[in-house]
Structures are given as C-alpha cells and as structure tokens.
C-alpha cells in the first residue's frame, strides 16, 4: 500500500514542482517504487523538470476519461529505476479532473507503489483540493515571505477539513513543512522571515529547508531533478529531506549564513 503525499502550498511559484520532482527522485534512489503525478492541468511542467516532456503521449486526463490505460500514460524515468511520472494535460481544462476519476487512478497505483507524490496546482480551489483529497501526508512548501506563510496556513486548514481522512474522521493528514528558496543573507538583513518565525506561525514539524540556489535553475533547465546534483546545496538539502521523510534523524543544514571564519569551519564543522 503506497503512501500518498501531496506537495502543496497555496501560493504559486514557491517550488512545489521542483520539490515534488526532487523528493520523488530521492525516494526512488533510496529504493522505493515511486510515482509523481502532475495535477496542474493546463500548466503542466512536471514533465519538463523531470526531463521527459518529449516522451509524453497520454496524460492523467486521458486515463480518467478512459482514452488510455494507466500503463500507457505512465512514463518510466530514464535515470532512476522505480521512478515513474504521470503527466498532466496541457490542452484540457481543469474541469476534466473528477474526484471519482482520481480515486480510481490512485486505487490502482496504491497497490503497486510505495510512494505516490501529487504535485498540486497553486491556489485553494478545486484543482488544489483534488490533489490533496486522498493524501495520507502533505509536504507544505513555503517561502520565507509573509504571503507564502499565510497561504500555507490556509492550506493547512484545508488539509484538516477538506480531505478524505478529515471527512471520514480518520487519523489526520500528516503535515510536513518544507521551507524553500531560503536565503540566510536576506533573512539576516530582515528582508525575509526567519526559520523560527515560520515554524512558530505554522506550528507543524519541519521536514526540510532548501536554500535559494543556482543549482535549481540549472537543473530544471536541463530537466534533471536537482537531487542528482549532490555537489549542490539544494541537492543535498533535498536528500536530507527525503531521509527525514523516511524517518531518519538528520540535522538541519543551510539555514545559517555560510561564510564562517576558518576557526568555526575547523572546529564547528565536526559536530553531528
């Protein structure tokens, strides 16, 4: 039985798709059979970030409307075994996704996979609600800005009320905070909210912190999820995040301004 994890945020452009691709890649690299589904109908770009846009033949909407089978629509990642992508439709409109249709697709996938990641569209409307409805867990992607934190708070309210788990009175959706595009220098300068403020307001457990990084831009242009770039800060931060999702206790990195003196690098770096 797969765990269904929605990657969501409310606000657009905060790094949901980047994170869904990076986390799915990381989970698969750790040997978990993983599929990542693009719920952003009309604005699909997960396939670009995953570098499989030329291999898209059928999509989620085709499957839901019975025009293609799941196996025809799923794309096997060319770098990692165990990793699959289910793209969204670029040409259909959002109404093409139905709750029953998605339930059928997920029921099918849950049997075969370990993890199902749902890359949510922005907003709090139907598309975002469909992406979260069947989730067991949520990765709430938040940037260190007031508006992003506010939207994440709103999404957390929906997770607690507008999901299948909430409606059935089951254990609530497990909520994880993922802070992305964190820039310690700008936080220090007071241009951005700091880590502790965000944690205090959202009051959920922190699963990871991804620094603002050139590597993300580079990797999405190349269509290679940043998790593959283990020389980069963002790649390492996503790997840490995946370890924590798998239950490991990994210390937080990249939340402090890096240019430390030689001394603190020599003596401060050796700790766990």
């Amino acid at each position: 039985m797969a765990k269904i994890i929605v990657v969501t945020s409310g606000k657009g452009g905060v790094g949901k798709t980047t994170s869904a691709a990076a986390i799915a890649t990381g989970l698969a690299l750790r040997g978990n059979k993983t599929i990542v589904i693009d719920f952003d109908v009309g604005l699909r770009n997960l396939d670009l970030v995953m570098g499989c846009e030329r291999r898209v033949v059928y999509d989620l909407v085709n499957v839901i409307q019975g025009e293609a089978g799941l196996n025809q629509a799923m794309i096997r990642d060319k770098r990692v075994d165990n990793l699959h992508i289910l793209p969204a439709s670029q040409t259909r409109d959002k109404e093409a996704l139905t709750s029953e249709g998605i339930e059928q697709v997920l029921d099918e996938l849950v049997k075969d996979f370990d993890y199902i990641l749902c890359d949510s569209p922005a907003g709090i409307e139907q598309g975002a609600q469909l992406a979260m409805y069947y989730a067991d867990a949520a990765v709430v992607v938040t940037n260190p800005e007031v508006s992003s934190v506010r939207d994440s708070d709103r999404i957390l309210g929906l997770l607690a009320s507008k999901t299948r788990r909430a409606e059935r009175g089951q254990d609530p959706v497990k909520e994880h905070l993922l802070i992305t595009r964190y820039n310690p220098t700008r936080v220090d300068d007071g241009d951005m909210l700091n880590l502790e403020d965000i944690r205090e307001i959202l009051a959920i457990d922190l699963i990871g912190l991804i620094p603002e990084s050139e590597a993300v831009l580079r990797s999405s242009n190349q269509g290679i999820p940043v998790t593959h770039d283990q020389s980069s800060d963002a790649g390492q931060a996503y790997t840490d995040t995946v370890s924590r999702l798998l239950g490991e206790d990994v210390p937080l990195r990249f939340h402090e301004y890096q240019k430390k003196g030689l001394f603190s690098r020599m003596f401060g770096g050796g700790r766990r």
Partner: protein, 249 residues
Amino acid sequence: MSLNVDRAGLAFTFKGGMLPMTVMELTSADPERIRDQLAGKLSQSPAFFQHTPVVLNVEKLDEPHLALERICAVCRAHKLLPVAVRGGPDPVKQSAWALGLGWFPPQEIKPRNLESVAADTQPAKEDTFAAARHEETPASNGGRIYRGTVRSGQQLTAPEGDLVVVGSVNAGAEVLAAGNIHVYGALRGRALAGIHGDHDASIFCRELHAELLSVAGNYKRLEDVDPRLLSQPVQVRLSDDQLSIASMS
C-alpha cells in the same frame, strides 16, 4: 467542638487526594534526545510548560543506570518539574531518592496517552500517519476548548460560553464567543468576545498581534492598538464602553 480547638494547634493534617498528573514516558535515556524533543514541543505548546509537575516513567527503558540528574535538569530547563520516578531497577530508585524525588512502583495498566492533550504533534512515529492534532472538548459552562492552531480562513465560535484556544489564532482566522476568549498562544487573527452583547466579557492572550479585537461590539483594529502592547500578554475588556487593553506581563 473540642476537635476544632485541637485542630487550631496543628501545623498540618494529612489528606488522601487524587491529583491529575502528567506522566512522561521515556523511550530514550539520552538527555540530548529528550532535550531536542522538549525544545520542539515547547515551541509548539508553550502553554503546557508552566512548571508543570511530571512523573518520569522509566518502565520502558532497559537501563540499569540512568543519567537521572541530567534528565531532570533538561526537564527543568523546559519548565517541567519532575516530582517522582515510576519504575526502574533499584539503582534508579536510589538515585531518585538521592535527588529528592519520590519513587513509585511500576504500574500494570498502560496510562492513557496524554500526548494529544499536552502537545499536538507526535514526531518520530514515522510509519503511521497518526497524529492527533486538534482536540475538541465541550467545556462545562457551554463553552469550547480547542487544542491546535486556528488557521487562516477558519472560524471558531463558542455561541454559548467561553472559548479557550490552546494554541495560536493565526492571521486571517477568526474566533468568536458569547463569553470570554482565552488564547494560550499568539493572537494574530480576529477575536470577538461577548457577541451577544455581554459587556463583561474579556479577551486574554499570551501574545498580542490581533487584526481586530472586539467586546460586545466595541472594537479596535491593529492600527489603533498602542504599539508597546504588541507581542505582550494582555487582557482586553470594556471600561466605560471603551475597549481597554492592559499588559499582563
């Protein structure tokens, strides 16, 4: 009659009593791990950590010697007061006594899991997604107790009595009560007490950032509030039909 006279001469009397007590069931003996988890909980539910007496249950641990003194210090640093130890082998009992703590024999029955009441997230149980986040309790006076964060877009009402929020009320959220409103966290959203016109209703919070405060229809917006009161614990009530906000620190 004579009994009364005798009593006046007594310095104390012993009474049997049942007090509610939080049991902290240790599953690790490592003071650092305990510290990390407490630090997380403290930031989530500061209201719980008010020199709260706790009994350290060590039955789940299989350690002949325990760094009991350090564990107690970690607890105290997080405003938990260990008053006794339950279970453990003889050396543990001896060191509890040496530290001035009581010792209880191990119990047979499992205690009710207080976790969901005390703090609202359960870390580290990675394989289940169980985590009771919000707990609703009807209060005896027709009010409500809500444990958890009231989030943007949510509205919480106690139409007949007081509303107690054990957590924060975030910006964009709204809490309303016929009676008083108590927020054991930050109040960043809107709070309206005395919604049926009770002029004696008050609002209390541990950290004031409210977008709007109202008692019986008399209100103040954030911009009307003296900036020195922001981030302070305050009580808000009516005096002469004027909303007055007083610091409680």
